[in-house]
Amino acid sequence: MKRFSQIHDITLAGHGVGLRRPHFEDTDQFIGTVDFLEIVPENFMAFGGEPLAVLDRVRTTHPIIPHGVNLSVGGDMELDSQYLADLKALCDRIDAPFFSDHCCYTALGGAWFHDLLPMPFTEEAVAHIASRARQAAERVERPLVLENISYYAVMPGSTMEEAAFLSAILEEADCGLLLDVNNIVVNSHNHGEDPEAFLDAIPLERIVQVHMAGHSELNQPSIRFDDHGSAISDEVLALYKSLIRRVGAIPTLMEWDNNIPAVEVLIAETQKTRTAEAEALRTAEGA
């Protein structure tokens, strides 16, 4: 079966990091050390000044991928025309091969929560998101790639498992998948699920990119918390290797959004994912 990336001529490869404001003066250190950079478009598309100047500089040295947080593809408001126009303009400016966001809602009835909130896993929600995802992809004029989110409660009324819900949306909307391996681990702990079974149940050929990140543990409630504030755990690396053994190399990005460390630390995290990928590929060849 052809991969989504092949169908859409997406040639992104290697290991990248998220570009964040504390690193604006250190972007030269990314040259020769990381293969691509990911940006949160909301931090660039409505602005000028330093962010745009930095973006124009780094796009001459790296492929730039926009990974949004406020498409609110599951929300109840009309997709915001100005938001989509600004997003398209930014994608054009950086020649983005695709754009990504999360399989969730971030706004309802005019209120913006600025958090990635879970939908009820229902057929109705599948149809709702798929229809809006198709609209968004048409208006931004490039493939939309949706990410599996971490969630701390299964929403009332849910009738499906997360993997079935996500798979149905990807098929119905014809979207790519941004697979966040950290989120799978967080969710498996929080909901008593088997992360390998999750991988068994999703359309692996739709994976366009992988996210890696750190998480923490909270006491009240007792949960794993997806805070993107630490290094990748061994457990997440192990699941990543399992994924690579199944599907081969996939563009992989290290996300770090809280307690953001120095560039060197981020680069060292990408070295971890490179090593894990190489080990997994060797194991797969030997199998």
Binding site: G49, E50, A111, F113, H114, P120, Y152, A153, P156, G157
Partner: protein, 239 residues
């Protein structure tokens, strides 16, 4: 009404802290994950909003102190739920909110306004490059704001690092705030009569040297004023 619309109608006020969980559970049923997990979400949303406000207003909140800041941010969030996809807009109404509070000193609201405009100017969408025809223009990121206290001097001094320091002096004046083209940093400058004359002339598409001379400046001084404002990045282009 569809099940999904009912879900949205219940979750919106719940996430904003305006509806109790038991009401939501009556309407939607319980989460298979349990009530404690559902109850986590409104706090998560409020925490995220507070984070945005804290990043935008570090000096203001340091001056207010942690407990008072937490209280005010909570009330602010209840009165002004975020209404824009751009996350920093969460804090857009915070200076006006502080200004409306009788229990907050006037100068602290001014300090918040100072911090907000520092952010606004830093990210202003307008380019700070000279126009293609090279004509002299006012930096398009420029804002002029009235202040009743000498907030800039207070910020520039060590007083802003000391929560017990004396408040800024009362001194009514106007400030211009703009983004310096080369460094992208935010500059604050008190509005002098010359700045007023030059900016007013340029905005009326008049020759600023002639306007300064009409106001009594010798030609050399008028040109010096303009050269100085160009060097500071307040004016872009050339005469």
């Amino acid at each position: 009404m569809s099940d999904l619309q009912t879900f949205f109608d219940e979750m919106r006020p719940f996430l904003l802290g305006a509806r109790e969980l038991d009401e939501v559970e009556s309407a939607l049923g319980e989460s298979p994950s349990g009530s404690e997990r559902m109850a986590f979400y409104p706090g998560l949303v409020a925490w995220g909003h507070a984070n945005f406000v804290e990043k935008l207003y570090p000096m203001t909140l340091a001056r207010l102190g942690e407990d008072r800041s937490d209280d005010l941010i909570e009330i602010y969030g209840e009165e002004h739920p975020p209404n824009h996809w751009e996350p920093n807009q969460v804090g857009a109404r915070f200076p006006a909110f502080l200004e409306s509070r009788p229990d907050v000193d006037d100068w602290i609201a001014e300090l918040a306004r100072y911090e907000w405009f520092e952010f606004v100017v830093y990210l202003d969408r307008n380019p700070t490059t000279p126009p293609p025809d090279g004509k002299l223009i006012v930096n398009p990121t420029l804002h002029a704001l009235p202040f009743r206290h000498d907030v800039p001097a207070w910020v520039a001094s060590e007083a802003c690092d000391n929560p017990e320091s004396t408040p800024p002096e009362i001194r009514e004046h106007f400030l211009v705030i703009y983004r310096q083209p080369e460094t992208h940093s935010c500059r604050f400058m008190e509005v002098t009569p010359w700045i007023q004359i030059v900016v007013t002339a340029l905005e009326a598409d008049r020759n600023p040297v002639e306007a300064a001379m009409e106001a009594g400046a010798p030609p050399d001084q008028a040109r010096e004023v303009i050269a100085d404002l160009r060097a500071r990045g307040l004016l872009l282009g050339d005469l």
